[in-house]
């Protein structure tokens, strides 16, 4: 099955040998994190992992990746291998020929910046975030039961508790602690929300002072 969907021939040849293809996968219950998608707006989103289509890794043979897929599915991963999905997140670039072929596989929202022999990746963070949000909003990946989010919340809670003990009057640590506490509160609230989304209630605007009437003044 071929997933090469995009002609990237207008891009420069990458100065490194190509790599093996991969697909994205998410873990249905353990791979989630609470992300601030907009100021004051939080969502539980899946972490994107890689399903390497690499012979010799995790049960991939040179002929098929079925055993590898079964290995990962048994472990609770959902492999995003529908060609329409793959077209949304992966692109194929040209690379110098090597043992693994002359193609390099990149995320759709990453752009190579070639400088001599090195390649930097420029990421369109908004597009990357949008894809993760789309996975949940489109129903491609179902939000797990809040019970499964508990362990992630518990880890954050322990880090906040530890930071609280250490912070003292150190302004850097206090600032970080406040941020961590805010994330923890948001993660808790979002986990309770049915769709995993939560917005902070904006603080009420200050009430205008009532002017003293002439009668009261008298």
């Amino acid at each position: 099955m071929s997933y090469e969907v995009e002609d990237q021939s207008h891009l420069p040849t990458l100065p490194r040998k190509g790599g093996y293809p991969w697909l994205l996968k998410v873990h249905k219950t353990q791979g989630w994190e609470c992300v601030e998608v907009a100021p004051g707006e939080w969502e539980w989103l899946p972490r994107l992992r890689r399903f390497h289509q690499r012979p010799g890794v995790n049960g991939h043979t040179a002929r098929s990746g079925n055993l590898a897929k079964v290995n990962d599915q048994n472990a609770g991963f959902l492999i995003l291998d529908d060609p329409r999905l793959v077209a949304k997140y992966r692109k194929v670039l040209r690379a110098q020929p090597g043992p693994a072929g002359s193609r390099a596989y990149w995320l759709a929202w990453d752009t190579p910046l070639v400088s001599g022999r090195s390649v930097a990746r420029k990421r369109d963070a908004a597009q990357a975030l949008e894809f993760r949000r789309w996975l949940v909003s489109s129903g491609t990946v179902e939000l797990p039961d809040p019970v499964h989010l508990d362990s992630a919340i518990d880890t954050m809670r322990k880090q906040v508790a530890r930071a609280t003990r250490r912070a003292g009057n150190n302004p850097h640590l206090v600032g970080k602690l406040e941020q961590d506490q805010r994330t923890l509160d948001a993660a808790r609230a979002a986990a309770k929300a049915p769709d995993g989304r939560w917005s902070e209630t904006p603080p009420e605007p200050p009430k205008p002072r009532r002017r003293t009437t002439k009668k009261e003044a008298a």
Binding site: Y20, H27, Q30, G31, E33, R47, R49, R50, F51, H52, R54, P55, G56, V57, N58, G59, H60, T61, A62, L67, A68, V70, N71, D72, N74, A75, G76, F77, P99, L107, D110, R121, K122, R123, A125, A128, T155, K158, Q159, R162, A163, R166
Partner: protein
């Protein structure tokens, strides 16, 4: 008129000459193949398949239960079992050199058939490291966050995760260079008795080149082959039994060829195309790497270099 370098070029002086030594392009050449942290599952030779199915039996998963009465007839309890597949595949790399290039070689580290052959051993071992790094992305548990520096907090979360899973030690962490640098930076701001034990010569002698030290009882190895994206690197921490590899041994050819099984999974042989005056050296490695038990490992996410 004085005799200068410029006037002597190009009959008696050269604009440039090759340096005596050929240096190697900087590269991480460390591997963890000979450590206890990668379980060697053996060879598929004579197995009847290129894929080894590793079975797990939960012999002690079920405990003896109290019976309702002293004469209750006890029924049989089925054994809990599972399995993981490790596929052994062919990995190969070939280098060719013409006779003229070979005969003009200046020896030492200069390009030659022998230099190619020597480097193929390292190339094969690093290929396995690449595969181990790819396998790490199949640990179900992950700690850390995308785009955030690896910190002592994340490190301890990884340790806790393994302990929560009742994973048995000793534990090892394979860290990307950026992750290791961030961890050391984070340790600097720690207070209390926490100590990073840097690798000493004695430790390096025992544990090999990639060993970087020990922190919180976990051995640390650094590898440049850890999977990286624009936003994060995917290092890993695991206990013995989490990752394994199976191998295959190349049967020696019957022809009168120059062939050597360097190890039980790597063979190097020389061949020659006489009519083209080209000599070639080919390495074949047969192996496969896989995560054996998810609960024994945890992925550590941290920001990219």
């Amino acid at each position: 008129m004085a005799t200068t370098h410029a006037t002597l070029e190009t009959d008696l002086r050269m604009a440039s000459r090759l340096a005596l030594d050929v240096l190697t392009i900087l590269q991480d050449t460390a591997d963890i193949l000979d450590t206890e942290y990668i379980v060697n599952l053996g060879s598929v030779n004579g197995l009847g398949s290129d894929t080894m199915q590793v079975g797990f039996a939960g012999y002690a998963n079920d405990h003896l239960a109290a019976t309702a009465a002293e004469t209750t007839d006890v029924s049989a309890t089925a054994l809990t079992d599972t399995s993981v597949s490790v596929a052994v595949v062919r990995h190969a790399l070939r280098r060719d050199i013409s006779d003229l290039a070979e005969l003009t070689s200046r020896g030492g580290n200069d390009v030659s058939l022998q230099a190619f052959a020597n480097s193929l051993v390292t190339a094969a071992r690093l290929g396995v490291m690449d595969d181990i790094a790819a396998a790490i992305d199949s640990f179900t548990s992950a700690v850390g966050s995308t785009g955030v520096d690896l910190s002592v907090d994340t490190w301890m979360s990884a340790c806790y995760q393994l302990e929560l899973n009742s994973a048995t030690g000793p534990f090892v962490a394979l860290l990307a260079p950026r992750a290791l640098a961030d961890l050391q930076e984070s340790i600097r701001s720690e207070t209390g008795p926490t100590q990073y034990i840097a690798a000493t010569q004695d430790m390096l002698n025992i544990k090999g080149q990639g060993f970087q030290g020990q922190f919180a009882g976990v051995d640390i190895y650094r590898s440049a082959y850890i999977d990286a994206t624009a936003a994060d690197v995917k290092s890993g921490m695991w206990g013995r039994g989490a990752i394994g590899w199976a191998t295959g041994t190349v049967p020696p050819p019957r022809a009168n060829a120059a062939f050597a099984n360097v190890t039980d999974w790597l063979a190097i042989e020389f061949d020659r195309d006489a009519s083209a005056a080209i000599s070639e050296v080919v390495a074949h490695a047969y192996y496969g790497v896989a995560v054996l038990e998810q609960a024994r490992g945890v992925e550590i996410l941290s920001d990219a270099p």
